[in-house]
């Protein structure tokens, strides 16, 4: 019980300012307790020593340096947080890339060897002349490797025509590379939708109303022609002579 009273009194004494009097209960306790009295005397001496020291003024840039120091402390903390997040993101990306690589390998793995493809998917016979022409084309390529090598084209073929490509490749023995590539490599060709989407739509400032004219052939025969405002391709608006000579006339 006494210890508790000593603690309370010492806390009060510790918070006292210099030359400030303590409470009556604390003073009564000091008269009775020697330990607390000694504590009070030490505290008073310490305060007197500190109070006797002169005033020290802060440098002019103290405030700035203090703020800079505080900011640097906080940025180092932020950097540590960023490094931790970056490391986590890199880990996630690594997982993503690994997953993509594995899935791609699984997707691109040929279902069967090329020989089996040929036997399992009957294709129209290739004319002998066509085969000969292709072989000659292959020879040309071997002698003249250009910037767009012929051997690279089959790589761009879509999966839907891979079987046909495998058949063609199998028929071209000098071009083993083509056969290998076309049967196992990913496809990249223009598809109809992609091709269409590659072009921008543009406005056509065509006439709004069709042009109507009544004509006479000089023999009393009249007719009215309505010319469409717009046509696509060779949708000729009039029955005119063709640009090309009629057949069997030279």
């Amino acid at each position: 019980m006494r210890k508790n009273i000593c603690g309370v009194v010492r806390k009060e004494l510790d918070e006292l300012m210099l030359d400030e009097a303590c409470s009556s209960s604390a003073a009564a306790h000091l008269r009775e307790c020697a330990g607390c009295r000694e504590f009070h005397q030490q505290q008073t001496k310490l305060r007197q020593i500190v109070g006797s020291l002169g005033t020290v003024s802060a440098p002019a840039d103290f405030d700035f340096r203090l703020r800079a120091r505080l900011a640097s402390d906080s940025s180092s903390v932020a950097y540590l947080q960023f490094a931790r997040r970056g490391f986590a993101l890199a880990t996630v990306l690594l997982v993503f890339a690994t997953g993509a690589f594995l899935v791609r390998n699984v997707m691109d793995r040929p279902a069967s060897p090329p020989e089996e493809v040929v036997s399992s998917s009957p294709q129209p016979a290739i004319p002998e002349s066509s085969k000969q022409v292709e072989v000659s084309g292959a020879k040309e390529f071997q002698g003249n490797p250009g910037p767009q090598p012929v051997a690279s084209k089959p790589e761009k073929r879509p999966q839907t025509i891979r079987n046909e490509q495998a058949l063609l490749a199998a028929s071209r023995t000098p071009r083993r590379l083509i056969a290998k590539d076309s049967s196992s490599t990913g496809a990249e060709v223009m598809r109809v939708k992609e091709a269409e989407n590659a072009f921008e739509a543009f406005p056509l400032d065509a006439a709004l109303d069709s042009f109507k004219v009544s004509l006479d052939d000089g023999r009393g025969n009249a007719r009215t022609i309505s010319v469409p405002t717009i046509s696509f391709g060779s949708q000729r608006m009039l029955q005119t002579s063709n640009q090309l000579a009629p057949k069997r006339a030279w």
């Binding site: 022409v133 090598p149 269409e196 590659a198 006439a207 046509s231 009629p246 006339a249």
Partner: protein, 525 residues
């Protein structure tokens, strides 16, 4: 790590793995393909350019050109009886939209269906050898520049590209244009690689846009077009008599006349040809790359339209005739059987008067066996070798005749014809020694106006001038398309009879409802 954090990380990892699987199923860009770094896709999509060499050509015809086209139509047109009340001679009345092929030297080849309207008047004397014409300089008038075809080129990105019309190659039907900035289109080389039956072909041709997602407001009240593509297969490759490919066919499920002029591209994006016609069913005939290049070369060398060679005959291949048909042209049975047994030659069924053939003493019933030592088996062979010789060239024919046992050898100087032979024949027979033919000889094309129509143009009756050939006396005297000729040499046009040897023509014309007099020195024949 708390349980919540663990769940969160697991969810994110699972989502990413799912996305990775989706990405892995899409084809990766081939590292071997040198993809040009241009954006041709929509709205920021960076992708491989799909045939950047394909452009769109917009060919506009005003009312005057429409009348020119009517004059060239197979049906006789003598006068205009009535017109819409709202009418302006220079208003666009028709727009044709067709694909064009941009080549790497800035040349564009396109199969314009109405290209003949941009040519001069049909040659009334096509018998003379055709000399290269000098380029026609554009000429200004109150209507603007009247001799420049109204053609707009639209690039793959929808931008307008400046180009000028050079000329028509009549052999192929291709019009040749030149881009002002030859690098405006990223051209892809034409390929002469062997064509294989069954190979995939993409055919690009413009089509109207039904709807553009997210752009309905833009479409309201406007007509839009875009290059469309259909996929087909090569069906038949027809070899040329001199080697190479003459034509090939492609089949596709939705072919129509709108696809004529379309640019055919192989899977690698290289141009393999231009569609120049439809065959029966869903098949199109395609002009191969080598012939496109040659056509462009011909026109660029001349800097003008290049006519087709003209001989002045009609005929049929012996292989397509039976013995009776051969005998009907003066051949005895025994010789007709021998002729048919050889399976070669073209039997001439008619020869045009004053034509190169007539001048070389070719007659109906003659059979042309060889052209410059090249044997002729089919009509296509004959056409091919004449086209290879070209207009104005001298060719040697080996001829069998019904009244002559030995084969004969003839040298023939071919002529050139910008218009189909039938049209020139029609014009000569349609307007022999008339006012029309007399004016056409002066480079003036006209169409008669009935009073109600003439009233709309500020006069009572007359001839509407629809074309004046540049560099002629009429052009230099100031006669312009759109003028209405009210009288010639003081006589109403309806009463005018061309003199045998005119020295000049005095035209009383109406221009902008104002009366003018133009004197044109007559062209000496």
């Amino acid at each position: 790590m708390t349980l919540r954090k663990l769940i969160r990380v697991t969810t994110i990892a699972g989502t990413l793995l799912y996305c990775a699987a989706a990405v892995a199923q899409t084809p990766a860009p081939s590292p071997k393909r040198p993809a040009p770094p241009v954006k041709v896709g929509r709205a920021g999509a960076d992708k491989l350019p799909a045939a950047p060499q394909v452009v769109t050509i917009i060919h506009r015809l005003n009312a005057l050109k429409m009348f020119r086209l009517l004059l060239r139509s197979e049906q006789y047109v003598q006068s205009v009886d009535a017109l819409d009340s709202v009418f302006n001679l220079m208003d666009d009345v028709h727009t044709n939209v067709i694909a064009g092929l941009a080549m790497d030297d800035g040349t564009i080849a396109a199969w314009l269906p109405e290209a003949e309207v941009e040519l001069g008047p049909p040659d009334m004397a096509p018998l003379l050898p055709v000399a290269p014409r000098a380029p026609k300089p554009p000429r200004a008038s109150r209507f603007g520049v009247v001799d420049v075809p109204d053609i707009t080129v639209i690039g793959p990105e929808g931008k307008r590209l400046a180009a000028k019309y050079v000329g028509l190659d009549v052999v192929t039907g291709l019009s040749i244009l030149r881009l002002v900035n030859k690098n405006a289109v990223q051209a892809v080389a034409l390929t002469d690689e062997p064509l294989h039956t069954g190979a995939t072909v993409l055919l690009f041709s413009p089509e109207p846009v039904a709807n553009i997602p997210g752009a309905q407001a833009m479409l309201r009240g406007n007509l839009y077009a875009r290059m469309g593509a259909i996929e087909g297969r090569i069906r038949d490759v027809m070899p040329a008599p001199s080697g190479g490919v003459a034509r090939f066919k492609m089949s596709a499920p939705k072919l129509s006349r709108a696809n004529i002029g379309g640019v055919a591209v192989n899977e690698a994006g290289e141009t393999i040809g231009i569609v120049d016609g439809l065959v029966e069913g869903n098949e199109a005939s395609i002009l191969p790359a080598a012939l496109i290049r040659r056509a462009a070369q011909r026109v660029l060398e001349q800097q003008a339209s290049v006519p087709r060679p003209w001989l002045g005959v009609k005929g049929e291949a012996i292989t397509a005739l039976n013995l009776d048909q051969i005998q009907n042209h003066g051949w005895e049975l025994q010789r007709a059987e021998a002729l048919a047994g050889k399976h070669r030659g073209i039997l001439l069924t008619s020869v045009a008067p004053d034509s190169p053939a007539a001048k070389a003493s070719l007659k109906a019933g003659d059979v042309i066996l060889k052209v410059d030592d090249k044997e002729i088996q089919t009509a296509d062979d004959f056409t091919w070798w004449l086209e290879q010789a070209g207009p104005s060239s001298l060719v040697e024919f080996t001829v069998a005749r019904p009244d002559q046992p030995a084969e004969d050898s003839l040298n023939v100087r071919l002529s050139g014809l910008l218009y189909p032979a039938v049209l020139s024949f029609n014009l000569r027979t349609r307007f022999p020694k008339t006012r029309t033919s007399s004016l056409m000889e002066q480079g003036i094309e006209t169409i008669a106006l009935k009073p109600p129509v003439a009233t709309q143009l500020g006069t009572t009756a007359g001839l509407l001038v629809v074309y004046v050939e540049p560099s002629t006396a009429a052009s230099e005297a100031g006669l312009q398309p759109g003028d209405v000729i009210q009288s010639i040499d003081g006589k109403p046009v309806s009463a005018f009879k061309p003199p045998a040897q005119p020295t000049s023509f005095t035209f009383e014309i109406f221009r902008n409802k104002e009366k003018l007099v133009v004197v044109v020195p007559a062209k000496k024949n």
